[in-house]
Amino acid sequence: MKLWTSLIIIAGMACLITAFPMGCSKRETPVDLGNREQILHRGIGSEPKDLDPHMVTGVTEFNIIIGLLEGLVSQNPKDMSPVPGVAENWEASTNGLTYTFHFRKNAKWSNGDPVTVHDFIFSFKRCLSPKLGAPYAYMLYCLKNAEAYNKGTITDFSRVGAKALDDYTLELDLASPTPYLLGLLAHHSWFPVHPPTLRKFGEEQPDSKWTKAGNFIGNGPFNLKSWEPDKQIVIEKSQTYWDKNIVRLKEIHFYPIGDHKSEERSFRAGQLHITETMPLDRIGYYRRQNSKSLRLDPYLGTYYYLINVKRPALNNVKVRQALAMAINRKNLTAYVTKGGETPAHFFTPPNTAGYTCSKGFTEDIEKAKQLLTEAGYPDGKGFPNIQLLYNTSDAHVRIAEAIQQMWKMNLNINIELINMEWKVYVAATDEGKYDIARAGWIGDYVDPNSFLDMWIKDRGNNRTGWSNKEYDRLLSEAAQTMDRDRRYGLFQQAEQILISEMPIIPLYFYRSKHLVNPAVQGWDPNILDIHPYKFVYLKP
């Protein structure tokens, strides 16, 4: 009897569980609904720290800000070449030191105010203000006297090279010819902010509330509709934007889904059109499915290992070269990272504004062994205990283990892996308390300078302790050179020095990894992974 009752109960529960889903029909997913209504759902990784163009540093924030604000020039979604933004057209003087921008008269803020030259000058002044402490203020240093103003050595902003010739004509005077100026102008540190709004909520406070939904006034193709922290940010088509007829999306919803696996599941559940990235171990699956959604495209970034050249053994250039040569990058990218990354034998990603390092180093295990012998460690004998430091992440640990194994097999040296939490890792590399550490660099703008300039002696991000007088000279000469071929020639020479001295070991060039719903149109692959939303639309 007892057995019967229990069996009946179990059978009943089983029926309920199976019957429940059958009763419900497949519901319409947010993506289906979005396709109908032109609402784009995009994952953006982490929660944006702010939406203030002068204060943010991350890609996440930038991906939202480009919907809300527009700079002097904008970018062609296909090749990132400059296209008119607030400035309708512009001309440069022959010596490359003066640029004149002619504003369009119909550019408006979202409250209807016209966008004028004065708004931009206000914004440059704010970004350079020493009181604000904008982390990317140095992006404006190409303006005459901008650095001095930012450092507080001059206090008169009228001496900085940004002048209003009239309400709609802006003149920029540069400290040195900056051939990549138009590319720089698309960076968020050059974006305008709405002066009355900033004055109202505090223009020079880092914790100003002007970026909250309801307060935010922008001049971009979209307006900030709502910002629910850690949940979603919604921007809607602006009715005051000068080029509003081209904007087809009605709304964009951004979701800060930090966990890659959760994000990928949300994509599969039809909640996202576009993911910020994807879990490494799912790439293979999408590959095998031949999925149209998988987008792996070259990205302006390099994954590399930093070497502390002050440490024993590592202070010997031959050891550094041997370490770099004894890594099989093809295997690393094919079997470990698996995202279609390009093996790196130099530092600047290939075809950065038409520049590719002419000759990289070669992987050669025999040569590496020989170099190690010459350095006094035949077959790895007597090689000191060296630590390889990385911050906690699934990908970093796999790469580090693979390289540890390669060095063991090829050079017979033992490397200890050290895993640190992010901030501890940053502090350790910053203070030079490491032997070898993993690192990555994403270009701030499309120019080799963004990659080579950082290895000049004592630059903040040169944490290797390495410096080379000739290298520094070549870079400073390049900064004064207007002619592109000559300039790139100087970069070539400098990069040769960098990869022969090997204070860093380049491993691979990044790929952006997204899942993109096939309904998304106008989402062109490009090296900066920037996708101006005014050209994006949905066509199921």
Binding site: K2, L3, T5, S6, L7, I9, I10, F20, P21, C24, K26, R27, E47, K49, D50, D52, M55, T57, P130, K131, L132, G133, A134, P135, A137, Y138, K151, Q205, P206, D207, W210, T211, K212, E228, P229, D230, K231, Y255, I257, G258, D259, K261, S262, E263, R265, S266, R268, A269, Q271, E421, W422, K423, V424, V426, A427, A428, D430, G440, G460, N461
Partner: protein, 306 residues
């Protein structure tokens, strides 16, 4: 009773003071600061930020300043999410974690008590073994396995629920089950064992003899006593569950407090982390007090020690 409550409430003050002090100095010992990042900020910028947030003063000064602010109910600014204050963050995230916690608790209690009681009424039969085996599985299955599994089956295969988010009413179901399962399992086992102890007692036989219905006997007579260990378990469990679970909130993308707590520690967001800890400590003390009061109500034999 009033004296007891007042005394316990007063105890909160030294507890919070100790918690603040330890956390305040401990977090400063951690390498790195709120403004260190891979792409290094220029030193002027860090200097400027530190000055703005008063992080350049000596540590004891900062500590006193912070205590003063806490007394005023101001938990300070958020260093990472710049346009928000710690008070705002708590105000935004706690209700969400609290709601999720409540659903999880309701689920855990309903499932745990029912399973526990059924098992205790029919010990060593299938009705005992199946729920207890399920409970064991529930204890063993961590949230980071159960959550994705539930999403896979009910979200992706059957298409019944969203895979993430906190938008619709149905978005509460899977996270609540994930979060509540472990607690349901504990409650089931706890209530089963205490019911087994209570059921053979004389007063239960008396109740049956005087003709009380079986339901009345179980719910009014047996359960009231059997619930005591469950209630003492619930106090800290509830505090843990409503202050948010990092794992569940991450898997389901829920904008709750648990996630804030962990990211604040990773980001060295001093004020946010401190604020959340103060809040959490206060909540824990308060919930323990409530549990004590409920226990007295359940069992008059437990005396309030004056």
């Amino acid at each position: 009773m009033l004296k007891f409550v007042a005394r316990r409430l007063l105890q909160i003050v030294p507890v919070l003071l100790i918690v603040i002090t330890i956390t305040f100095f401990l977090i400063r010992l951690a390498p790195g600061g709120p403004f260190t990042d891979e792409k290094k900020y220029p030193p002027e910028v860090i200097e400027c930020r530190n000055a703005y947030y008063g992080l350049n003063d000596s540590l004891p000064m900062q500590y006193l300043h912070y205590l003063g602010n806490v007394v005023k109910g101001n938990l300070g600014p958020c260093l990472q999410y710049r346009n928000r204050t710690v008070n705002e963050v708590i105000k935004e995230t706690f209700p969400i974690s609290f709601e999720l916690g409540c659903w999880a608790m309701i689920y855990a209690l309903a499932l745990g008590l029912v399973f526990g009681i059924i098992a205790a009424l029919r010990p060593n039969t299938l009705l005992d073994h199946i729920p207890m085996a399920a409970a064991m599985t529930g204890i063993c299955l961590p949230a980071f396995v159960l959550g994705p599994l539930l999403i896979l089956v009910f979200g992706l295969w059957l298409g019944l629920f969203n895979a993430s988010g906190w938008e619709m009413a149905t978005d509460r179901i899977l996270p609540a089950i994930t979060l509540g399962s472990v607690y349901a399992a504990y409650i089931a086992r706890l209530s089963r064992s205490s019911m087994l102890e209570i059921l053979p007692m004389d007063y239960i036989r008396t109740a049956r003899a005087k003709g009380a219905s079986e339901l009345r006997v179980i719910v009014c007579h047996a359960l009231k006593n059997a619930a005591i260990p469950v209630v003492s378990f619930l106090g800290p469990a509830f505090a843990g569950i409503v202050t948010g679970s990092f794992v569940v909130e991450t898997i389901f993308q829920i904008p709750g407090m648990g996630k804030m707590f962990v990211t604040a520690a990773f980001n060295r967001d001093y004020f946010l982390l401190l604020g959340l800890i103060v809040f959490y400590a206060g909540l824990l003390v308060a919930l323990n007090l409530i549990v004590d009061i409920v226990l007295v109500w359940l069992n008059p034999k437990i005396k309030i020690e004056a």
